[in-house]
Each structure stands twice: as structure tokens, then as C-alpha cells.
Amino acid sequence: MRLRTLRLDQFRKFDRPMRLDGLRDGVNVLCAPNEFGKSTLLAALRAVLFEKHASKTDAIRGYQPRLGNTAPTLSLSFEQDGVLHSLEKRFLLRPSARLVSGGVAFEGDAAEERLATLLGVASASRGARDAARQAATIWGALLVDQGESFGQATLGEQARTTLSECLESELGAASGGAATGRLLKTVQAQLGERLDGRGNPKDRYKAALQERESAEQEIASLQERRRLLQDDLAALVEARRALARDADPALDRQARAALDEARRHREALLGQRDRHGRATAAVGLAEAECAAIDAERARRAARSAALESNARLLDMLTGREADARLQEGAAVSALERGRAAWEASMQAVEAARLALVEAQARSDAQDRLARHAALRDRLADAETQATEIDALSARLAALRPDQAGILALRQAALADRGDRAALLAQATRVTVALSVPSTLSLDGAAPVAVPPGPALLELTGPATLRIDGIGEIAVAPASGDRERLLDAARDSARRLRTLLDAAGCADLDAAERANAERGQLALSLEQARRALAAAAGKDGISALRAQEEALRPDRQEDVAADPAALREALDRARHDLDAAQRAETAARASLAAPERARDAARMLLAQAELERRTQEADRTRLAAERAQAEATESDDALLARRQAADEALSARRAALLALIEAAPEGTVALADARIARLEQADANRQASLSGLRETIVRLEGRIAREEGIGLDEQIEAQARRRDNAARAVADETREVAVLTLLRDTLLAADRSARARTLAPLVGRIGPYLQALFPGASVALDQDFQITGLSRNGVEGEGFGLLSHGTREQIAILARLAFADMLLASGRPAFLVLDDALAFADAARLERMFDIIADAGSRMQILVLTCREELAAALGGHRVRLEPEAA
């Protein structure tokens, strides 16, 4: 296949017609700078060869220029097998395809089909008929994009098949690889109809599985419904049987007869109860009559007996009353005698008490005299201490300075000393050592003698030292602060003097002494106050004086009696009173017995009188009652009535007994219970019948609904559906197993065969490789990928471990070898390299150019490059992409 011209219009960056002309056999070189459009040119070549004109994929839309909705249009002329073919395709807007081959024109899809045949991809892979997927064909190895040349061509299944077919043609169809590929494809397609990408059933296979499962679920559901129907049918049979049993009219008749009988029995019992009540009442009345008569007779007998007893009792009570009166008289006499004795004893007690009062008065007067004397002594002592306190207090009040004054004096003296010391510290010190006496006049003060010998003069003011016989020395101190200090010293001395004068003291020592005396006086005063308190007591001297005044004796009492005689008289009076009191007590106690005897006699008398009167009243009442009863009904008449009543009672008892013997069995309560039981049983039976009828209606309704459905028939239909699905599943499962085994076996055989048939391809690569790497050979795998490079028979370098440059060079050699094989098997081939050999050093580049030039003698090669020096070294035929002439 030889390309001749390529024309582009409205294709990507080319929004006006461009033309690549003058393509010749052998090596053609298009050299142009970056961004010129070399890769666009390769894309245009792919598009015109492999894209369907009617396609509107995103890739196709990407062919349009950036601005404008136009129709990318490509034209290609090429030669194949000595025939010139002109191809033109227009995309997107009014898309079209036209191929003129040797004067025969093909339009549209026919043009596409014809083109595919020419390219050798028509029968192999219709799916690969677009630029995006042409990489799967061998053309993917021949049209090499920028950057693709660094790696090996990625060969799809279609490409591998093509190569296998080429190898087979060289090996005389010994490998069978092409046929194997086609069969594999068929088998894969058939498997793909049954399994998805993950090997799970799909489509018909999956549907059969689902159908089987669905049918099984439906069968289970129907069988469950049938089971429920059978349960309902069994329940219906049972309910009907129970209804037939319980709805028997004989049972109704029996129940009604039993109930009527029970009610009749109850009526009989009620009549019997009524008659029995009446007979019992009659017996009771007769018995009451007899009892009333008996009671009346008893009352009459008791009354007669009571009257007799009453008479006897009255006689006895009259005697007992006379005795009682005698006893009372004796007791009263004895009591009067006792009372006279008691009054005499009381008079003796009064006399003894008066004597004791008099003796006690005399003893009390003697005690008061003694206490007055003691008080008088204490009062005298207290008066002495009070006088002492008054004297001490007067002295203390007259004493100066007081406590505040002494404190003020002390502070003033301290300030005076301080001021003077400060003045002295500023004094001018004059040391003299005079051998004669001298005087010193200081600041106008009286002169002071200065004895001979060494002396220190501290001068605080102007001074004059006068040395007898010699003269005077005047000294004037020069202290700046002296005047202030001197004033301070004078002020403090004056304040001290004022305080001393106020205290009446010559100096501070005198003041301190006066203060000490004050302390002594205070101490003495405190002692005197304590002594006064001890003498006067807590109430003070005034209270003491009052006590003494109160106890001071009258003049009559001043005569003191003999205390011993007084005590003896007092004791004697007490003794006499005690004896008189004891005698009075005894007399009073002796009255008790006569009083008790008198009271007892009086009580007996009263009781005897009462009893007598009571008996007399009873006798009167009983006599009246007896007279009245006799007047009402005589005793004889009463006796006759009693006999008649007894006869009536016997007759009624006999009638009652006869009634009891004739009574029906049972009681009314039992009869009521039986009636209630029978009525309840009947109601229960009726309720049961009603429930059974409802159950039957309900079951019949449910059964009728299910019957019409024909569960057995549906189950059979579902079973048939399940069996059919199961057969389909089995068929599909077996088919998948067959296809899987066939696929795996074919794959294994294909790999094995490929390994044996790679030799021709290795042979194609060999000469190229020797030219580049003398002594080197390559190893290929079953997918026609170079796996390693051996040099001089030494195994070893894996392809991935080679340098980028070496890998690119070897990959280009492989592509050349693929093209050689295609051409040798009569298939179309040409090679396009876009910016290849970027990493080759100068020596390798030269050899690669030689190899490409050699290959150019067998195939057309189009080299696209941006490097002018490379294009120049490569030689070949230079072509240009230029705007089409108007």
C-alpha cells in the first residue's frame, strides 16, 4: 500500500484546505516545527482510513475546528496492487464517503466496506472499524503516535490473529492460529450469550434459572394452599357430622319432654309445700292453744302457793322487827357514855397547849439578845474601816501629777533630751590643753571655768574662751542648721518646764516620786475597802446598821432569865401536851364500836320493816288476782277446755303425717336446678348448632373459592413449568460446560502453537537487530511481545530493564518486522513514525537511519519530525503540508 496525497479541510486546526503531496515509495520525511500539525496529520490519516463517515461520536466531533460548525473533509489517494484508489470522506454535516478504485466508484457504506477489504480488516473485525479501536488491529502497530514509539505495540486479539495468519502463511498453515482465533471468537461469543463478564448466567440461561426458581416457589405456595384446603375440607366434614348429630329432631323432642317433666315435678313440689305449710300451721295453732291453757293453770296453782307462803313469812317478819327495836335502844345508850369521856380529854389537851406557848415565848426572848450583841461588834469594825477609806481618798485626790500628767511629763522630757542631743551633735568641738585655768562664756551665758589640762569644748553657739593672763578666744560655730536646732531645743525645754510647774514639781525626778507615792496610796485604799466589805457584808454598812437597830432589846427584856430553867420548863410543857393528846385520841377511838352497833341495829330494824310491808302488799295483790281469774273462768271450765284442745291437736298431727308420707321426691330447689340445667343444655346445643352452621358456611365459602381455582391442576401446570425450566437449565449448564471446556482447550492449544510458530517473526526481526546490536537476539512471547534481549548468546536483559532509547529502537525494529510480514503475506502495510528516535545517540541514530532506509526499499515509511538535523541525516524524500492552491 502506498500513500500518494492527503488533503485536509476543516479538520482540527486546519480550517482551510491543506494538502500533503508528493508521497513516494520508500522513506518520506515531513519536517516541521512543533504546533505545525504533524500529529493532526496522523489523526487525519487514521480518520480517513478507519472512521465511518456516518459516525457522530465525540471523537468525530473533536475533528471540527475550534470555531465553526463545519464538516471535516478528508481525501486520500493511495496505490495498492498497482491500482490507484481515491478516497474522500466528509463527517458530521451531510456526511459522505466515496471511494474510486480503478475507475469503479463506491459510495457511502459500500465505500466503507470496500475500504475495509483493502485494509484487510473487513472480515476480521467490523467492531475495530474506527480509529479508536484500530489499535486492536495490526494497524495499531504501524501508525505510531508521538510518544508511542518508546514502547512495544499493544497487540489486540485481532492483531495477534493477523500476525498468526501471516506466520501461518509463512509456515504453510502449520500453526492453525488464525482458525483457532476465529473459532475461539465464535466460542467466546456463544459463551458470552450465556455468561456475563463475571461468569454469571445471563439472558436465556439466567431466565431459565429464574423460571425454575419461580415455579418452585409457586408450587410450594400452591401446595400450602392445597394443604389448607384439605384442612378446611376435613374441618367441614367434621362440622357437618357434628351438625347432623346435634341437629337430630329426636334430641329436640327429648329435651322438651325432659324440661316439661321437670316443670311438672316442680309444680307438684310447690303444691305439696303449700299444703304442708297449712297443716303445719294448724298443728302449731293447736299446740299453742294447749300450751296457753296449761300456762293459765300453772299460774293459778302458783298464785295459791304464793299466798300460803306469804302468810308464813309475815309471821316471821313481825317477830324479827321487834327484836331489832330492842337492839337499837341498847346501842344508843352505850354511845352517849363514850362521848362524855371524849369531851373531857379534849379540854385537858387545850390546857397543856397554852402552857407550852408561854414557855416557848420566854426562850425566844433570850435568843434575840445574843444575836444583837454580835451585830453590834461587826458594826463598830465597819465604821472604823469607812473612816480610813475617806482619809485615804482625800489624800489621793490631792496628789499631783495625776496619771495623765506623768505620761505628758515623760514625753516632754524625752523630746527635750532629743532636741538637746541633736543640737549637741551639730556643736563645734574645740579641744584645748591649757596649762592655766580659763573661763568659757558661751553665747552670752554665764562664764564656765575650764580647768587646766586637756578639755573638749562642744560649742553650740558663739563662745568666748577667756584665758586668764593671756586673753580671749572667740569662737563662732558655722553650722547652717544650728538656729533651727537651737529653737527646737528651747521649745522643748520650755514645754517641759511648763508641765513641771503645773505638777508642782521641780523636775522630772520629783514628779516620778510623787507618782510612786500615788501608787502606794491607791494600794492602801483598796485594802481598806476590802476590810469594810468583810465587816459590813454584801448589803453594806447601812443594812448592818438597820439590823443592829432592829435587834436592839427593849428595856423589859434586858432582864435575862436562867437559860437552863427556861429549857426545862419548855420541855415539861411539851411532855404534858403530848400526854393530853394521846388521851384524847384514845377517847375518840372508843366511840367507834358503839356507833357501829347502833347503826347495825337500825339497819336490821329498817330491813325488817320493809320486808314486812312488801309481803303485806304481795298478799293483797295475789288475793285480788285470784279473785279476778276465778271470776273470768272457773278452774273446772279451764280444765274442760284443755281436754278439748288436746284432742284437736292429735287430729291435726295425724293429718300432717299423712301429707308428708304422700309428698313427691326432691325439693323445689332441686327441681329449679334441674329445669335450669335442662334449659342451659338446650341453649348450649342451640348455640353449638348455630356455631356449626356458621362454621360450615364459612368453610364452604372458603372451599368454594379454592375449588374453582383447581389447585391440583395449577400445581401440575407449575410442575410442568418447573420441569421445562429445569431441562432448559440443564441444557444451558451442559452447553456452558461444553463451551468452557472447548474455549479453555483452544486457548491452551493456541498458546502452545504460537510458541512454536514465533520463529518466522524472530527471523524477521533478526537482520534489523544484527544491524543495530551485532550478536544480539530477542525472545518473544506468545502474544508477540518482546520479553528480553540476549547478546552474544548470553541470556538475560528483560525488555523492561533496557534503557528508554534501546527499548524504542527495538520496538521500532519489531514494527518494521510486523510490516515486513504483512507485506510478505500480501497484505497492505505502511509505517508512520511521529517524532520517533528521540533518545538515540548519534551512532545508534545513524544505524537506525540505515535500517529505515533499507526497510524503505520494501515498504512506504512516513517519518514526521520537528528536528531538521534528523530529517537531513535520514535522507529520504522531503514532503510538505501546504495550503491548497486556490
Partner: protein, 382 residues
Amino acid sequence: MRLVHTSDWQIGKGFRFADDETLGVLQDQRLDAILRIGRLARAEGAAHVLVAGDVWDMAQPGERTLRQPIERMRQFPDLHWHLIPGNHDPHLPGGPWDRHLRGGVPDTIHLHLLPEPAPLGADASGRPVWLLPAVLDRRHAFGDPTASMEGMATPDGAIRIGLAHGSVRGFGSDPDRAHNLIAADRAERSGLAYLALGDWHGLTEAGPRTWYSGTPETDGFDRGGDGGGSVLLVSDLGSPRPTAAPHRVGRFRWHRERATLTGPDEIDALEHRLRGLDRDDPSAVLVWLTVEGALGPDDQARFQARIRDGAGSALRALRIDESGLEPAVAEADLAGLGAGGALREAGETLAALAAGVSAQKEIAAAALQRLLLLARRDGPAG
């Protein structure tokens, strides 16, 4: 008096092996057989048709299935149809009989659901003819369902006709099966002039004056007797040995065929045999074919074309059991995969697997056949 004796209609029966079209036809023909029976009875002057059980195939048929046979019988108002339950359609609450009792049937259709004698009329000599039905009220009744016939009182001199469903004891019955077993001398013991039985699907004489009519439309392979498809026309009831004459009413014939195939001639012969089963109407024939032997790829294709596709389309149904048919791979077949190369290697691998004893043996054989077929379609190797 003449009677038609039939049984085992089994309306609603499912044929799981059949495709939907065949199923519909088979089921329709079972109903149409009723019409053929009616027409036969009318033609032969038989006023009574005795149906000895299993009118329906199931205890819970759908409403349409329930009514269809009644509607067919309704078309013959001059005939009396006497029906009893069978083990497939026992008289149970909610069953087909119960449903018809509630819904009512034409007066000419007599549902005998109690073991009580019923008069059929009188024969030509004026002797009364009575029917003594046995009733199955469960699928499997213990004991002899016809035992009550002995005690059934009929007028003096009456001709007693028994009608029952079950297996005659000692007549091909399973001795361990204790249900629905009918005494072999039932006719004699119960004074029956004729005992019309159902249960066996092939027409069979089960004893003196005792017959199985079989199903009127064959419903399976290996049904015994005549295979089914007939009814009995019973006449001479007053004679010591009434006449029971078979009359074919069935539409389909069911055949079991066997063949051993090793080459094209045998395939051709088999096709000839199958087509010869009924040259006039092969669509009335159902065949269960069992083949064995070994066929190469060409013969497999021939078998597919001549038997499966050819004869299979001509017959009503062709069911093939080919588990005994193995693929035969000759050297010539493998040669079609080329002298060497991947296809030949794959073929030999599969052939070795198919000849082995592995679990994949059968799958491998099929895969080999598939490979040969695909390779042949792909074109000659090389």
C-alpha cells in the same frame, strides 16, 4: 341391552415431556374421545355408557376442566352415562364429585357415589338389569372396594353389572399393596354378569366376565394391554359369557422404539421405521426413542437432520433418550483440523478426555463434536 364400558379418561392430565402445542392437542383429544365414545354408543345401540373411574386426573381440577367432560356428555341426551370415582378423583369433600353434586349435572349423567344398586332397565328378554357400583371415597381404600357388591340386593332374576375401579388381586397387582384390591373372582362371588373395571390403561380381560376397558385415549408409553385407545362394547348380558368387543376410539398411538446407530445407513433405516409407524398420519404418533451406539460428526449431523429435525417434525412428539449414543471420532475427523497446529492439538486433547474415564468424559465428547463442527463451518484447515 348393550353397554359401552370405558374408564380412565383422566381429563386435565399434564404431559410434562411435551411442548405446549403438543400438550394442548393431547388434552383436547382426551375430551374429544368422549364424543367418539358417544357416537360409538349411539351407533351400536348402547343406551348406557359405564365409566369405571378416574374421569378426572386430579382431585382438585380447575372449573373449566371440571365442566368440560360433563359438557361433552351433555351432547348425547339419548345416552345414560354412569360415572364412579377412581383413585385419581376419589369422592372427597370438595372434590369434583362433591362440586358436581352441589352444582348439578344433566339427568342423563348418573353420579354413583354410594354403594347402592341402581336399575338400568331391562334386556330384550325383560330381565331387569341392575348396576352395582363400588365407590372410592379416598385415594387408597383399604380392602376390596367391591366387597359390598355381595350384599347388594337386586330383584330376582336381575342381571347384575358391577362397576368398579382398582386392581384385581393377583392380576399384575402389587401383592404388598393393600389398597383398592379387587377379588379376582368378584364377578362370580357377587353374581355379576359383567364386571366393568377401571385403573389399567390398556384394554385387558382380567378374569371371567371381568374386563379393564383401558383409557380411550392413550396417555403414555408402556401402558400394557393394547396400550389404550379403546372402549368395550358389551352385549349378550344375559348369556353366561357376555361379549366384550373392543372398539378403537383413540386418536394417538404411543410407541417405544430402540435403535443402535453406527453409521448413515442405520440412521436412514431408523428414519424409515419412524415414518412408517403411520404413513398416513404420522402426526398421530408419539415416539419415545432410545438410541445407542457411536456416531461421527457427519453422522451426528445426519442424525440431527433426518431424525431430530425430519422425523421429529413429522411425528406428534419424538422424545429421544440418547444417553447411550457416544460420539465417534475417526482419524479422518481429526484430520479435518489439520495435520498439526492449535486446532489439531485441541481436538486431540478433547478426544483423549472423551476416551478417558473422567467426569468430564461426556462433556469432552460434546466439546470435540462442537470443535469439529465449528472447524468444518470455518472451512478446511490449511
